[in-house]
Amino acid sequence: MILGAKNLTLSYESSIIVPQLNLFIKPQEVVTFIGPNGSGKSTILKALARFLKAKNGVVYLNGQDIQTLSTKQVAQKLAILPQTPQAPADLTVLELVSRGRAPHLKWWQRSSSHDYEVINWALTETKTMKLADRLVGTLSGGERQRAWIAMALAQSPEILLLDEPTTYLDICHQLEIMELVTKLNQELGLTVVMVLHDINQAARYSHRLIALKKGQIVAQGSPQQILTAELLADVFRVKAIVKSDPESGNPVCLPYGIAESCSECLS
């Protein structure tokens, strides 16, 4: 287990969003949270990245309580890309990616040639090298997302947390990001924990899916195991046809209507 949670209870103020979550993530696994809006996906990711302190329970990173590690130590192992990251308007891609080296530098240290090597590598891996001079604010959605992933890579992490990395992208750029994630996982052995809205993409690019409803895990397992019409009706309140993709064997689902159980939310 590279990352995990035990009896994790998460809340904002007094309202409990996630009760008693247990989670085990194996090294080099690609795990995706799926679930409706407000089901606590981002909240869990924030807690796994030690940004949100748990009301109860523990998050483990390599077997250690994440709150007992220094935030810098954590940053050297784990990188997170929030749902809507922000950057100053005049920041260039190169400067942004360079910020990713922060966890490896003492406050008085300047970037060494090793840091530039890593930055160079991160730009190359994400195909953002030719964007290095561009301002982050002027990039297209897909380019921007790759730039942010490059920054996360510059941290040289073992674990990458991605919160809806493909939202707002057109389908081609969505797949581009998913292919990039797969490559990082396969070639570098990066463990990836992410949130995706597109269930078919989640099924295609993840080893394991975790379906959430009201902060609780309803089902988890390989896409083949858990993606069923019943689950979709239960979690997302949609009627859907679930078939097997003849090429990959992955399940694909085709929602065609709102499930009975949702009649109350329509009125």
């Binding site: 990245a49 940004f51 954590v74 997170i80 008085w108 530039y116 930055i119 090298m129 290095a132």
Partner: protein, 342 residues
């Protein structure tokens, strides 16, 4: 492998510009100081100024007396005050991720004003040489109250701004109340409230420089931290920064800088707001350059404004705060309109 090709290419354009702006602010600072010493009822050339500054053998000279006892201390106090305000503003704009933040927003000015006025009005025969101390304590207390009110499992920039506005209004109301109740003392207080450098001497310099030197030097090393903070709390945490701790440190630095400045020179507006903006327009938002360039430019602009304040209505001196407001307010509006386009 060393720096990537692109790093060198992009580094050179932006970097050259940053260094250029930094050099220009340095030149501006030297020019402003020299001009401020040279200009007055008795005029001197820049060359004479530096001769007098560097050559101690002419001590009997009346020029020497004017430079060393009157104009130099006033100019240096102006430099420190402007530096303190501009650095404070730059830091707060970074911490709050809000370009409209300035030293007044954390209640420093209102607190200083209230404490100074309270001391001068309530306490009979309050020695005026202790006004800066009272103001300094008032400013820091007020900043601490603002921080305390904004605290709720951490301090969010939004809550900080709201608490700052609330506390400032309360303090200003208190100040107005005191001025009405003790209206016979208004005259003594007014000069301080409006803000100015008239009559500032080595005495003020000695009170001021330790704070600006220490807090200013530390803040020059916070550029990289602020750069990270600009990416948002979540990202900054993700990059291994202890966000809350750094934020307290930065707010403390900004409070000390502003408190020291207003305690000696009264309420001078717009320097803390405008100067970081000008530098940002010229050389971008990289705080490693923004901080030192703002420090130099802030001091320079205040000293230049002070020259103006002495000259515009000669022989009457205007408070320099009036001049910074007269130029700052239109520039501020320009920024607002410019901002709307984006």
């Amino acid at each position: 492998m060393s720096k990537p090709e692109v790093a060198i290419a992009s580094g050179s354009i932006k970097h050259r510009r940053q260094w250029l702006v930094l050099s220009l602010t340095l030149i501006l600072a030297v020019t402003a100081v020299t001009a401020s010493i040279a200009i007055g009822p008795i005029k001197m050339s820049f060359k004479e100024v530096w001769q007098i500054l560097l050559d101690k053998s002419v001590e009997q000279d009346v020029y020497y007396q004017i430079v060393w006892n009157i104009r130099l201390p006033r100019t240096l106090v102006g430099m420190l005050v402007g530096t303190g305000l501009a650095l404070s503003g730059a830091i707060l704009q970074g911490v709050m991720r809000n370009p409209l933040a300035d030293p007044h927003i954390i209640g420093v000015s209102a607190g200083a004003g209230f404490a100074a006025v309270a001391a001068l009005t309530i306490i009979p025969n309050f020695p005026s040489s202790y006004v800066p101390l009272a103001a300094f304590i008032g400013a820091l207390t007020s900043a601490a109250i603002v921080y305390g009110l904004a605290w709720k499992a951490g301090v969010s920039p939004m809550r900080l701004i709201l608490a700052g506005v609330a506390v400032s209004s309360l303090m200003s109301a208190g100040t107005s109340g005191l001025l009405v109740v003790f209206s016979e003392n208004v005259q003594a207080v007014m000069g301080w409230l409006v803000g100015g450098l008239a009559g500032r001497s080595w005495f003020h310099w000695h009170q001021l420089w330790p704070y600006i030197a220490v807090a200013g030097t530390i803040s020059l090393f916070t550029g990289r931290q602020i750069n990270i903070l600009l990416l948002g709390d979540e990202m900054a945490t993700g990059l291994g920064m202890r966000v809350e701790r750094i934020r307290v440190l930065l707010i403390a630095l900004a409070s000390i800088l502003a408190a020291a400045a207003v305690s000696v020179a009264g309420l001078i507006g717009f320097i803390g707001l405008i100067v970081p903006h000008i530098i940002r327009l010229l050389s971008g938002s990289d705080y490693r350059f923004l901080l030192p360039a703002s420090a130099l430019a802030g001091g320079s602009l205040l000293v230049l404004a002070d020259i103006g304040a002495r000259m515009v209505m000669d022989p009457i001196e205007l408070p320099v705060g009036v001049l910074t407001a007269a130029f700052g307010a239109p520039f501020f509006l320009y920024l607002l309109r410019r901002g709307q386009k984006h």
